[in-house]
């Protein structure tokens, strides 16, 4: 009779462990080994109980060989700890971050953010706000099935997401401009307020913001009972409520079903200034809820491709503009295109009102500037009039990248200006010392910059 394979596996694992550890107390070692195996297998089994997916089966099957790195893990029996916590966590549905729940409050370096309060406009975090006002919160509102194993984290495989391919090269050719839909000043302000709490909009600059608000299209909802979005459907639009009101329903099955109860349970409602469906601005994901009009209403709608394209086009144009400017700076003309694009990526946009001293003669220089829009003038101590004028594409302060010498002149904005700027530390972080880059095309010059320090191997080689 041959021994069952499970038995042989355990014994050979024990043999390996034994050889590795060479313990003095054989019996104790073996006893410990099997206890550890038992603990780990139980843990796997318990864990598998919390998997609804096909993973469950695989999880319960022991596949760890003897050199199991977890057997001796300092964190030890996660199963018991995890199971204990489970009960407490079922009542805690609004955990903001997984770590907040996995680790007790005192374990964290910073208190978890537990204040979900938002403005009346603020059901931007999806439907979560509305849900609180409704009946029992469904656990399946998120991307996957609700998981209550430590901290609600969904332990299943995660699905990749992707949006339509956006290609800036073609946008240069076909001269795309975002759609524009006329709005009154009042409407414009209301929309601005409505989206201000949403992080997707709060990062936009003024121009992008104008374009996005302009692209929102009015969508009349003629009567009550219209399903604007249906749970489980693909989503392409984000909506802001201009007037009227809507109820939000979630069916636990994850999608709208036929029949009188097909909507699922009502989890909240949304009125003027509210909004819904913002995940559609990221990629094409199934809708998490159904939204039904309660009366005749008006919505503003924005589609994903328009939104992302506005963002892409302005980012693309800005990068190309910066790269173009950087090519004109003699100090940096030996940068490779790759390096130039890294610097362009790191340039930070700043705005100054007219009459601002951007750099001050005599100060230690920290940053270099490119003038993006507006005019600026250069002044030197002891000279009444401006000695020079700067316009779009002009740059100044670039010597700060090289050394700590005081600024040779002051630069004052004449109009409101927009500049792109980068500090010496930022430059060096990305590309290393500027001296090295300068040496590439003019070794002798770089030598001179180092105060005549003659031991420059690169300079000698020229």
């Amino acid at each position: 009779m041959s021994l069952p394979p499970d038995y042989s596996n355990e014994i050979s694992a024990l043999n390996r462990e034994f050889l590795k550890a060479q313990p003095s107390d054989t019996l104790q070692f073996c006893a410990n080994f099997f206890l550890r195996r038992l603990e780990s297998q139980r843990a796997e089994f318990l864990l598998s109980q919390h998997h609804s997916s096909p993973q469950g089966r695989g999880m319960a099957e022991s596949t760890f060989p003897g050199n199991n790195p977890f057997g001796t893990s300092p964190s030890g029996g996660f199963a018991t700890g995890g199971m204990h916590r489970l009960e407490e966590e079922d009542e805690n549905d609004n955990v903001a971050s997984p770590t907040a729940a996995t680790f007790a409050h005192r374990d964290m370096d910073r208190a978890p953010d537990t204040a979900p309060g938002e403005s009346t406009f603020g059901n931007f975090g999806g439907f979560s706000n509305s849900i609180k006002s409704g009946a029992a919160p469904p656990t399946s509102i998120g991307a996957g099935a609700g998981q209550s194993f430590p901290s609600n984290y969904n332990l299943n495989r995660r699905t990749s997401v992707s949006a339509e391919s956006l290609n800036p090269a073609s946008s240069l050719n076909d001269n795309w401009t975002p759609p524009y839909h006329q709005k009154t000043a009042d409407q414009q302000n209301r929309l601005k307020a409505a989206v201000s709490g949403n992080f997707l909009f709060s990062h936009l600059d003024d121009e992008q913001s104008q374009q996005v608000l302009g692209a929102l299209q009015e969508k009349p909802i003629p009567t009550k009972g219209i399903k604007v979005i249906q749970q489980g459907d693909v989503g392409d639009y984000f909506y802001v409520v201009e007037n009227g009101s809507f109820d939000i329903y979630v069916n636990k099955s994850g999608k709208l079903e036929a029949g009188p109860d097909g909507l699922g349970s009502k989890v909240g409602s949304v009125g003027p200034g509210g909004s819904f469906g913002e995940l559609a601005l990221m990629y094409n994901a199934p809708r998490a809820a159904t939204v039904v009009s309660i009366e005749q209403s008006t919505l503003w709608a924005l589609d994903r491709v328009t939104f992302r394209r506005i963002l892409m086009d302005s980012a693309f144009q800005r990068r190309r503009m910066y790269e173009g400017f950087l090519e004109e700076v003699p100090l940096l003309n030996s940068l490779t295109p790759y390096e130039r694009s890294k610097i362009a990526d790191a340039l930070e946009t700043k705005k100054f009102p007219a009459g601002t001293t951007i750099i001050q003669e005599g100060d230690v220089g920290e940053s270099f500037y490119i003038l993006e829009t507006g005019d600026a003038e250069v002044y030197k101590r002891g000279v009444d009039k401006a000695v020079k004028r700067y316009q779009k594409g002009d740059y100044f302060g670039e010597l700060a990248l090289l050394n700590d010498a005081p600024r040779a002149a002051s630069v004052v904005s004449k109009t409101e200006v927009k500049v792109a700027t980068l500090g010496k530390d930022g430059f060096q972080r990305l590309l290393g010392p500027v001296e090295g880059i300068m040496r590439r095309n003019d070794p002798s010059k770089a030598g001179a910059l180092e105060d005549g320090d003659g031991v420059d191997p690169l300079a000698k080689g020229s």
């Binding site: 796997e44 096909p54 993973q55 695989g58 999880m59 596949t63 760890f64 060989p65 790195p69 977890f70 001796t72 995890g82 903001a96 971050s97 997984p98 770590t99 680790f103 374990d107 370096d109 910073r110 978890p112 975090g125 999806g126 439907f127 979560s128 656990t139 509102i141 998120g142 991307a143 430590p150 901290s151 984290y153 495989r157 995660r158 990749s160 997401v161 992707s162 339509e164 391919s165 956006l166 997707l200 913002e278 995940l279 990221m282 990629y283 994901a285 992302r308 892409m312 693309f316 790759y338 694009s341 890294k342 990526d345 790191a346 930022g426 060096q428 972080r429 990305l430 590309l431 290393g432």
Partner: protein
Amino acid sequence: MAAAVHKARELFHHGSHGDRKNSDGKKSLSKQESRDLEEEKHQLMEYEEMKRPLSPSQIHEDHGRKMVGHSSHVLRQEDFELVKTLGTGTFARVWLVRLKNTAKGDQNKVFALKILRKVDVIRLKQVEHVRNERNVLAGVAGHPFITTMVASFQDHDSLYMLLDYCPGGEVFSYLRRARRFNEPTSQFYAAEIVLILEFLHEKEGVAYRDLKPENILIDAEGHLKLVDFGFAKKVENRETYTLCGTPEYLAPEVIRNTGHGTAVDWWAFGILVYEFLVGQPPFWDQNPMKIYEQIVEGHVRYPSAMSSEARDLISGLCNVDTSKRLGNISGGAQRVKSHPWFGNIDWDALYNRRINGPIVPHLRGPADTRNFDEYEPEGSQREAYTREMAEKWDDYFKDF
């Protein structure tokens, strides 16, 4: 062995690819094609013995001269027995396969065959991604920690990528079972990933864009293999804009659509190390929009039990500002490799697979599938790939 490789290389690069299009598999092969097919099958049977890690520069410079990564004009699905599904996606299914009619002793010589249905690829607008995947995989074939695409081919309605089979299953499964990895285990896996990213970024100019434990397999010896290059793209020095990845692992610049490049992989790498050590990623919520809000804010909280080196590494990688992000700043991957958290890693020995992996999968043999989950059988409903579609789209698939 060198001679065998040379022979294989010659074999794979003659013969015309011309009339492959629209071939439906029933067409009889010419004498030459039959000979090629027999030779190619023979090479596949020898593959296991001949495979060895190539150095980064060999992989990079030997394009078209490697025995792996070629487009085969003779292989067909019919040449393989589909043994078991290893994984499924929205438009692809990966099978464990072996060549049909193999000798008894060769039953263990198996591969993973990724089958993509052209109709679905087109419907889900993934044509460009699939082309990228095939071409990136062809380019990187031979790297010790990246799945090797041995060959690619196509028939009327499907695309095929023949990959080496990695019997250990996903790191994901081990991680979920163990809840979290200890530091030495995490360091080992993280270090192999660093070598992959260093190679992809600095040799190939490729951004991988979907790093996560689900896409990392463990091979028979306990080393990693990165799989699923569906979002990989040769970006070189240009930024790219298409949003793709996995919610918990998306970099802030992808969410904000300001243009992204290889730096997104370093961000995701930080998330991955965190997930190894903690058991779940740092940013999570049931509502995906809340995840993105947290990511853009970029505040990572660390459990107090985490070592200060690990924290320092993760905070360097998960920096919202790409001009400060470790891996993307001056020094590139080298800066990551010299981080104190990797103090115990002998990088050269690691690349050459001379260091033992922390988990060596328990296997009954090279064709064991116990480390993979069961999947539903394939649905029988299939949308047809029509002649009109073929006329419109087949040109996009000509690299296969």
